[in-house]
């Protein structure tokens, strides 16, 4: 009985070791991928969905991870199966690059406009029109009279 148990334990250990060793690269994980893949029926990422379709996709990803597929290969298969809409973020190439760079461009343009506006506004405050203009004789005379009365 003990011998049998030991044999079973050894076989299990050998199987685990062989399946781990079969991967020539670090094994990806479901938790890493499920935030990058959308549930096609509920339009949230897999990690936020328990819909039947999401559960099936998670199971498929799990199978592929067991078969030592890389994250890229798994994503590629899902895109072939479901189309590019299955990815939570657009790829960093081609037309899809616009989705990454347009917001950055928008923020830079808005910041530049704001900076320009602030610069112009501060310049306008520093130099009020006619601030350095001299008083005419009549105003200067009246001012002197007023000051003399105050004394």
């Amino acid at each position: 009985m003990t011998l049998r148990l030991a044999a079973v334990a050894l076989a299990a250990l050998a199987f685990t070791a062989s399946s781990a060793a079969a991967c020539a690269h670090p094994r990806t994980s479901l938790s890493y991928l499920e935030g990058q893949i959308m549930c096609p029926t509920c339009h949230t990422t897999l990690d936020q969905s328990d819909a039947p379709a999401a559960r099936r996709i998670k199971a498929q990803i799990g199978r592929r991870i067991d078969e030592c597929w890389t994250a890229d290969r798994i994503r590629g298969e899902l895109v072939r199966n479901f189309g590019a809409g299955i990815l939570a973020a657009p790829p960093h190439r081609g037309f899809d690059l616009l989705a990454w760079w347009l917001p950055v461009g928008g923020i830079v343009a808005a910041a530049a406009l704001l900076a320009l506006g602030v610069w112009r506004w501060s310049r306008a405050r520093e130099e009020p029109p006619g601030a350095d203009a001299a008083l005419d004789d009549e105003t200067e005379r009246r001012l002197d009279e007023l000051l003399a009365r105050l004394d």
Partner: protein, 176 residues
């Protein structure tokens, strides 16, 4: 200062126009079920369990029953056997049954077809684009297309319990 103000106004106006454009685009591109009596939206999809693609246009002249399903859909399991029986009954009269697998993992779809003994052709609509054009909001849904490519019946939900509607649709399509 005036130039800056004008530029700011132009940018704001452009942003509002862009957002309005997006709203109009979204409203005009929402999926609605096509009208009965109108043409069935055309498509060409890859087959599951067989090589190549199949286009609806290639079936013009034959009545077609289009069933949208998915392996993860519980009611689809219930109607699979019934649809297979209906296909075996009507195929000698030239009726074509087509399964359209929607938003599904292909491997699971194959297992489903084998488990439920489905022998009529099944096509893969992985992205759900064709289902969108047919206004499918939840599977299963079934359409009957007549010989002239017009939609004659739309069954929302499982055909189990709506077999009369399916029969009526097939009869109408055969008469067309």
């Amino acid at each position: 200062m005036r130039t800056l103000k004008l530029t700011g106004q132009a940018v704001a106006l452009a942003a509002v126009a862009g957002l309005l454009g997006l709203l109009v685009w979204r409203l005009t591109h929402q999926s609605h079920p096509p009208k009965l009596g109108g043409p069935a939206p055309s498509f060409s999809l890859h087959r599951i369990g067989a090589p190549g693609t199949l286009a609806l246009a290639s079936l013009r002249g034959k009545p077609v029953v289009l069933n949208f399903w998915a392996s993860w859909c519980v009611p689809c399991k219930g109607e699979a056997t019934m649809l297979e029986r209906a296909w075996l009954r009507y195929r000698s009269r030239g009726v074509v049954f087509l399964g359209i697998d929607y938003n599904d993992v292909t491997r699971d779809a194959r297992t489903f077809l084998s488990r439920h003994g489905v022998t009529y052709p099944t096509l893969q609509d992985g992205s759900g684009a064709v289902a969108d054009r047919y206004g499918v909001s939840a599977v299963p849904e079934t359409y009957v297309v007549d010989r002239r490519g017009r939609l004659v019946v739309h069954i929302v939900g499982t055909v189990v319990g709506q077999s009369g509607e399916l029969r009526r649709g097939v009869q109408a399509a055969l008469r067309s």
